[in-house]
């Protein structure tokens, strides 16, 4: 037997997309998927809310606690060194995952905390600038009455409310780019809304309700032209497609670990180095200082500047394991597969009488999710009916009340796929949806 390994370049290239056979192998890595719910095999179509964890992620966290648990960045003992290495290696892995530099990658609890971090540090920048504290550049970042913050009508509450509150604290005005009936941003109006007064432009990469993928490059160009800070909510993109924050040229980007195969309690904030280094901290305390007197403190540069207190170490390690799992599977392949599943959902839903799908019609570009209204049946009842068949979906307003109001709805049902869903999952879902109106006599 020849003990010659095959050079990587000669290995068979992976197919361009996943297929059902590969997905069935992938599913073996996710123990939670292998169970009966109400007597039926679980069909998990709620990854847009939270995703499931592969064994490699669960084991990474377990291995950390079994072998390396200690506080990081303090203590000279062996375990403290091991834990610190694991924690900082994880940061490098996740930085590589999104095309960022190591010191531009900040750990947060989740995307919500990341967006609050940005909004709070921007109002604190105003306080610092007013008192001549910190870098002179802070004065340019500070918001004041007359300035504008621009979001979109399709934002998740997490990328809306922090900006409402920043406007309240600073006297700035919040504006938004509306959507059209098909769920796309009115780019014909964006150029008028984003103007010389715009200090912050915050928008989602992909809508958690509509499935729309927003034109990031065009929006960034509009923001750049007026000198606005550009903030990207990457919650529904980072887990599902290649995200390169430098190529997109955004100033900040946020996402949550639990939507990309990692545990809850860990998320990421990306920020451009030159911004992170001058912005005031958000939370203050241990681990983020250089010199402390009884009167005041000096702060470390990023990333430590924004990581006060003992960090979520095992979760960071697990998030890196999740990033590796996605990279090894291939995000382009995952994205193509999910696009196929999303398209299958929409085509199927549109053929069922009484169903109104939100967002792009069949054939239009969308991520692997579909939210819909069932005529005469409330979303809660739809979700209960599907659950009785072992199918897990999300019901409600999906943390996007203004968007639902714009569409004349209060609650919808959303199915969202991930790399572990088969076309059979989608077909079972469609079959169940087709029975909803008859059951409730709508």
């Amino acid at each position: 037997m020849a003990l010659v390994s095959t050079p990587a370049s000669l290995e068979q290239a992976l197919p361009a997309t996943l297929d059902n056979a590969e997905v069935l192998r992938i599913r073996n890595d996710f123990p939670v998927l292998d169970q009966l719910v109400n007597g039926r095999p679980l069909v998990y179509l709620d990854s847009g809310a939270t995703s499931q964890n592969p064994l490699s992620v669960i084991e990474a966290e377990q291995e950390f606690y079994e072998q390396r648990n200690a506080a990081v960045h303090r203590g000279a003992h062996h375990l403290a060194v091991e834990a610190t290495e694991a924690f900082e290696d994880a940061r490098q892995t996740v930085a590589d995952f999104i095309g960022a530099d190591y010191s531009e990658t900040i750990w947060t609890s989740n995307a919500t905390e990341g967006l609050n971090l940005i909004s709070y540090t921007l109002s604190t920048a105003g306080l610092w600038a007013a008192q001549g504290r910190g870098d002179a550049g802070l004065a340019d970042l500070a918001l004041k009455p007359g300035d504008e913050i621009v979001v979109t009508e399709m934002e998740h509450h997490a990328n809306l409310i922090p900006w409402q509150e920043l406007a309240f604290r600073t006297g700035a005005t919040l504006r938004y780019i509306p959507i059209d009936d098909a769920g796309s941003l009115r780019m014909d109006q964006a150029g008028d809304i984003i103007g010389s007064r715009t200090k912050v432009l915050a928008f989602t990469h992909a809508s958690n309700v509509l499935g729309t993928i927003n034109p990031v490059r065009e929006l960034v160009a509009l923001g750049r032209a007026v000198g606005a800070l550009v903030v990207l909510d990457a919650c529904q993109s980072a887990p599902h497609m290649v995200l390169d924050v430098k190529k997109l040229d955004v100033d900040f980007a946020v996402f949550s670990g639990h939507k990309m195969l990692a545990p809850t309690g860990i998320g990421v904030l990306y920020g451009k180095q030159e911004l992170l280094d001058i912005l005031p901290p958000f939370l203050t305390g241990g681990s983020m200082i250089t010199t402390v007197t009884m009167e005041r403190a000096e702060y470390l540069p990023a990333p430590q500047r924004f990581e006060a207190g003992t960090q979520r170490i095992s979760q960071a390690v697990a998030l890196a394991a999740a990033a590796n799992y996605l990279t090894e599977t291939g995000l382009d392949r995952i994205h193509r597969w999910e696009t196929e599943l999303g398209g299958r959902m929409v085509t199927g839903l549109e053929s069922i009488p009484g169903i109104r799908v939100l967002g792009p019609a069949a054939g239009g570009e969308r991520i692997g999710l579909a939210a819909f209204d069932v005529e005469g049946v409330h979303a809660h009842d739809v979700g209960q009916f599907l659950d009785s068949r072992g199918i897990a979906v999300r019901v409600g307003h999906h943390c996007a009340q203004p968007l639902h109001r714009r569409l004349g709805l209060t609650a919808t049902t959303r199915a969202s796929a991930y790399l572990y869903n088969t076309t059979d999952d989608v077909d079972q879902f469609l079959d169940a949806v087709a029975g909803v109106r008859a059951y409730f006599r709508a």
Binding site: D381, H404, T410
Partner: protein, 149 residues
Amino acid sequence: MSLDQLYQQIILDHSKARHGSGLAGTVAPEGASTGQSHQLNPVCGDEVTLRLAVEDGKVAQVSWDGAGCSISMASASVLTELAEGMTVAELHEVIDSFREVLRSRGKIHADPDLLGDAAAFEGVARYAARVKCAMISWVAAEDALNQAA
């Protein structure tokens, strides 16, 4: 537990019938004291505004506007039929009993003599996420009753 035990026929019927629905179309009896309460479930957006008229110590009229799932709409409908004609004390007793059953996670059975059609909601108690749906109009009725009585 099967779906049919949750969505009993009586619940599906009431979710369509919606007895008492339509605040604008009803006028409280002259001389009656009224109370009105608006309740919202922020999780699903279910909403009920319920008005209750009390005359001579009895519930003379219940009317409401609402939007929500079949459980919440059927529950408001059942409540309307049940409450009208009851004394204030009787309605309080029924509301307390209904709440106890709904919050029991299925451990306490409904008394059909006391709760009438509302006993059909016993199955909802096993679905923690749906208890608020069944309770929303009853919470509104309790609030309105306290104002009116």
